[in-house]
Amino acid sequence: MANAEVTPSVPDPPGGRKTARGLSLGRLGQYGGFLPAIVLFGLFFAAPLGLIVAYSFWQVVDYNVVHDWTLDNYRYFFSVSTYAKTFWATIWVSVAATALAIGIAFPFAYWLVRYIPKRLQKVFLILVILPFWTSYLLRVYAWLNILGPEGAINRFLHWIHLTSQPVSFFLYDRPAVILVLAYLYFPFAALTLYASLERFDWDQFKAAMDLGATPFTAVRKILLPQIRPGITTSVIFVFIPILGEYLTPQLVGGAKGVMIGNLIANFFVGAQYTRGAAAALLITALIVVLLIVFRRSLEVRDAYAP
């Protein structure tokens, strides 16, 4: 107990005497706190993921999964040109939708932080998350009504005599998917960007302009480098879920708007579990690569060293 004399501020554990057994139990107790997390993580994340990895290297013979290790599922995916094309399309549609969502969210958050009094900012933020109070499906169907042949846009175009027939350009193709996805994920982008812009010291912005920077240069050289972690977070919050979207592409994209989420769903519906698992893992691999690339941007220490 020489230790206790050196550091008297550390209280003895209740019960006082430390036997060898008590010590090891205490050590165990230290890590015991992780147990619920470990169980939860193992049961609901590690195990299913392991299963999918295993499935992706197995085979289906006569609708039964056979435990023969093979790379056929991956080879198959890239040998069918439609699948490969869908894979790349998924990436660019996700990039475009993310860019659109953030492209709208950044000016919005900037405007909110700089020009709106603090009290009213809260009101606007509530308005941003208001759509979450209605179902996802409902919001997508609302867009069907706006973009559809009898929708608001077509009726407006007809009303101003620009078109005589309903135009289907707005629906059942990738532009519609990008638009609706950007709408659906705008709140995530807006909230994360608001959080990082709100903490920014705007005197720096004044200082940059004072030193001869135009407002645009000040944003580029002073603001953006410092809110990089916030931008990365919003990219992750928006881009990753969009990669796995399948309801929106199905409802507003139709046959031409298919994304990899739809392929995966179809594989599983068609009992092609191993091919579905391989497709799902391709998306997962892509996300892991992205997270590694973004890893450095997430280190806040660069900008705010202690």
Binding site: D201, K206, L211, A303
Partner: protein
């Protein structure tokens, strides 16, 4: 003083009828101000008096509601901040945390597209000016508050602006460091010769650093002058009260020269040409304290209320006949020895040289009450 020698040169800054209103609230009543080339000019006043508004108007961060602003005879009130030849040291320093000290200082040069061969030398020169030559590669967060403040000064001066604006740059520092940096800033001012416009609410800071200063109150300039003019010849009760300590007496000026009269007819020393009711102001250190029978004719008799020994001075509060508030007198140096005998309840006489008393117009007092 270079300020007066350079009278032929255009003024560094001229404000003509500059006004700022926010909706119904008048932040700045029409003000006239001329700051000469090379001055260290302080804008002094309590918070909300309009001093920072004035600085922001010169810097271009807000636009005047009316009036014209000139920098070296060039009209600038319609120009954005990045088109004006002024640079600002902010109270929060506003250093860029993601850039090294060198990049911070070089930012303005980069914006002005100065070739890097030239800018490298100018950055080193600016860092040398503030004594931070060896800190170029550090990040701002790795510096102390005083060092950050000096980086902010270097960053603003490196662009060789016509005017350097400083917005309470020492406000966030502790007293000892403040005092040291006050000396450093005046030294830097002397070295570079640039016009400094310095905003502060600390009268001691303004007095010790400025060549001239303006005292602002309630969106209006109360008085412009050198520190000693402002201290010895305040033109309003507000200025007298805000700068240093003062005793005020309500008096009636009459025909007798060198004497004004209190309400009860008692005479006190004062040189004045004006007639009518006025407020007499006299500084504590100008008041002589003596035994009643050693006092001249026009002196005030009273009783000591309290004696406080403050080290460099001893302050005595004396309650006088015919004066509502006790008067404060300060005793320095040799006088202080005598002060030991100035115990409470002792009868004493107070007087001052007629030249040390200042008469203030009555209306400024009424306005303050309102």
């Amino acid at each position: 003083m270079s300020a007066h020698a350079a009278a032929a040169q255009p003024a560094a800054i001229t404000l003509r009828g500059v006004t700022k209103r926010y909706g119904g609230h008048v932040a700045l009543k029409p003000i006239e101000l001329e700051i000469a080339e090379g001055e260290f000019f302080c804008l002094l006043g309590p918070s909300g008096c309009g001093k920072t508004t004035t600085l922001n108007l010169i810097g271009g961060f807000i636009a005047p509601t009316a009036g014209e602003i000139f920098i070296r005879d060039e009209r600038v009130d319609r120009l954005p901040p990045h088109r004006r030849s002024v640079n600002t040291v902010f109270q929060s320093y506003a250093l860029f945390p993601h850039m090294t000290v060198r990049d911070n200082v070089g930012f303005g040069l980069k914006m002005a597209r100065i070739p890097s061969s030239e800018s490298a030398g100018r950055i080193e020169e600016a860092l040398g000016l503030v004594g931070l030559e060896t800190f170029g590669e550090r990040l701002p967060t790795q510096l102390s508050g005083g060092q950050q403040q000096r980086v902010a000064v270097a960053r603003a001066l490196v662009n060789r602006p016509a005017v350097l604006l400083l917005d309470e740059p020492l406000g966030a520092l502790d007293l000892k460091l403040r005092k040291r940096l006050q000396v450093e800033l005046t030294q830097i001012h002397r070295d570079v010769g640039t016009t400094f416009v310095y905003v502060t609410h600390d009268q001691e800071e303004a007095m010790s650093m400025s060549t001239r200063m303006a005292v602002l109150n309630d969106g209006r300039i109360e008085q412009i002058g050198t520190p000693s003019e402002i201290y010895y010849k305040p033109n309003s009760r507000f200025v007298a009260d805000f700068i240093g300590e003062s005793n005020f007496l309500e008096v009636e000026t009459g025909s007798q020269s060198g004497v004004v009269r209190l309400a009860d007819g008692r005479g006190v020393p004062c040189n004045s040409s004006a007639t009518g009711r006025a407020t007499l102001m006299v500084r504590p250190e100008a008041i002589h304290v003596s035994d009643p029978h050693d006092a001249p004719e026009s002196s005030l008799k009273g009783k000591i209320v309290q004696t406080s020994f403050l080290g460099s001075q001893t302050r005595i509060a004396v309650s006088c006949d015919g004066v509502s508030l006790p008067l404060t007198a300060s005793q320095f140096g040799r006088e202080r020895l005598a002060a030991r005998e100035l115990t409470p309840d002792r009868e004493v006489s107070l007087w001052w040289d007629a030249d040390d008393a200042v008469l203030l117009a009555k209306e400024s007092m009424e306005e303050e009450v309102e």
